[in-house]
Subunit: 239 residues, 2 copies
């Protein structure tokens, strides 16, 4: 007999990059698939890391009010333009650049996500509350059969986590109170920000999320649920 | 061998009320389920029709700029308050009113939707582009296993169809051009407005959608696909 430890929670909000999908190996694989036939030979993981390194600075321009909101697809495109010279990619045409930018929609979920989500979905609504765009989240859902309830997050809120508006706008979109949600992430700062808005919190560890030595092996704070993967998380949610 | 008559089309935008789900019998059933145990005895279909009759006027206040955008849940709530005296429902408490308003999320898809969507989904992205809210569309998807790619439509656009912004904002959200979408609806005016923004169009007839004698038996205009239900439509799309 399963008991439900959080009867008020109706829906789960997921961080997606790292928490649900493996962006690093996926972006490296897509870059190699697209660029190798054109004669390029890079360290694909280094390229993925360099691209990702400009993600937070790009969002910070929006969070700080320095630039108006643009979705992550645009931030990624600008970041790609910035790193191209460093990797000798100055001569790529527009079609190839657009194809490369789609790498962020072609990522694979970690192996525990499919069976974990199948159990969670039986009782809870599952929505991305990511800084990624609607287009990226919908495609990641399709590719990995995640069956999102709907895509929420930055594009609905027109701002980026950890700004409060992202959690609140996402909660309002489903007509539920923040206490009826649990934010689930591999990143403690995301959970701390969600908790400050009244959401429940679940930490799913992803040690090595961006290569050896990266990721949180332990949560940096006290959260409602702490799990080692989504099967463990599903069990702890009583599903 | 199936041929694909619209190779450019990547995604289908669906009108939902009437086109995908039977709002009239669903709202009548939910009203009866909630109100009959409280001792009320109404003509439940007349009640559903009266409620629905205030839907277009409520959206028109937003379209015309007379009132700021509010989502359909709010429009439905105001409409319910307006019709309550006519049905002797003045004394309902807040909990019952909120429960009644959820009737619009508890509607059943027409029987052809499940098998039709299964065929369409194999090749195309399926998104609601409805005047309904994110919450309603997500719940209708969950209830009927529609597996929406994501919810688009009025709430993303902050305006109501047939205003151009709703079709365009929905298209922009997936980073596709309007010509890569087909709007699918039982209502010719919706399709004419979508075509004016460059979308392809598909008419799926729902004669009797709101009772005997209602609904379009024939499309009122020339559309790319004309089908009698979603199985017919799936076949005509080459899926």
């Amino acid at each position: 007999m399963q008991t439900n430890p959080f009867p008020e929670v109706q829906a789960l909000f997921f961080d997606v990059f790292s928490t649900v999908v493996d962006w690093r190996n996926g972006v490296a694989r897509e870059a190699e698939r697209i660029l190798k036939p054109l004669g390029y030979s890079l360290d694909w993981l280094v390229f993925a890391d360099a691209w990702r390194a400009l993600y937070q600075p790009g969002m910070e321009e929006v969070r700080s009010g320095q630039r108006p909101f643009v979705k992550v697809d645009v931030i990624n495109q600008r970041a790609l333009d910035q790193i191209r010279p460093r990797f000798g990619l100055e001569k790529l045409d527009e079609v190839t650049l657009a194809e490369l930018n789609l790498a962020w929609s072609r990522l694979d979920a970690w192996p525990d996500v499919g069976p974990g989500f199948a159990r969670l979905r039986a009782r809870l609504r599952l929505c991305p509350c990511s800084n990624g765009s609607i287009a990226i989240m919908a495609e990641l859902g399709r590719r990995n059969d995640l069956r999102w309830h709907t895509v929420l997050g930055s594009e609905i809120a027109q701002d980026y986590k950890p700004k409060p508006r992202v959690y609140l706008a996402s909660a309002e979109a489903l007509n539920l109170k923040p206490s009826q949600y649990m934010m689930v992430a591999a990143h403690s700062l995301d959970l701390i920000a969600a908790a400050a808005q009244g959401l429940r919190t679940g930490h799913v560890g992803r040690p090595g999320e961006a290569g050896p030595g990266t990721g949180e092996t332990e949560p940096m704070g006290r959260f409602d649920v702490v799990a080692k993967d989504f099967l463990d998380f599903a069990a702890k949610m009583g599903t």
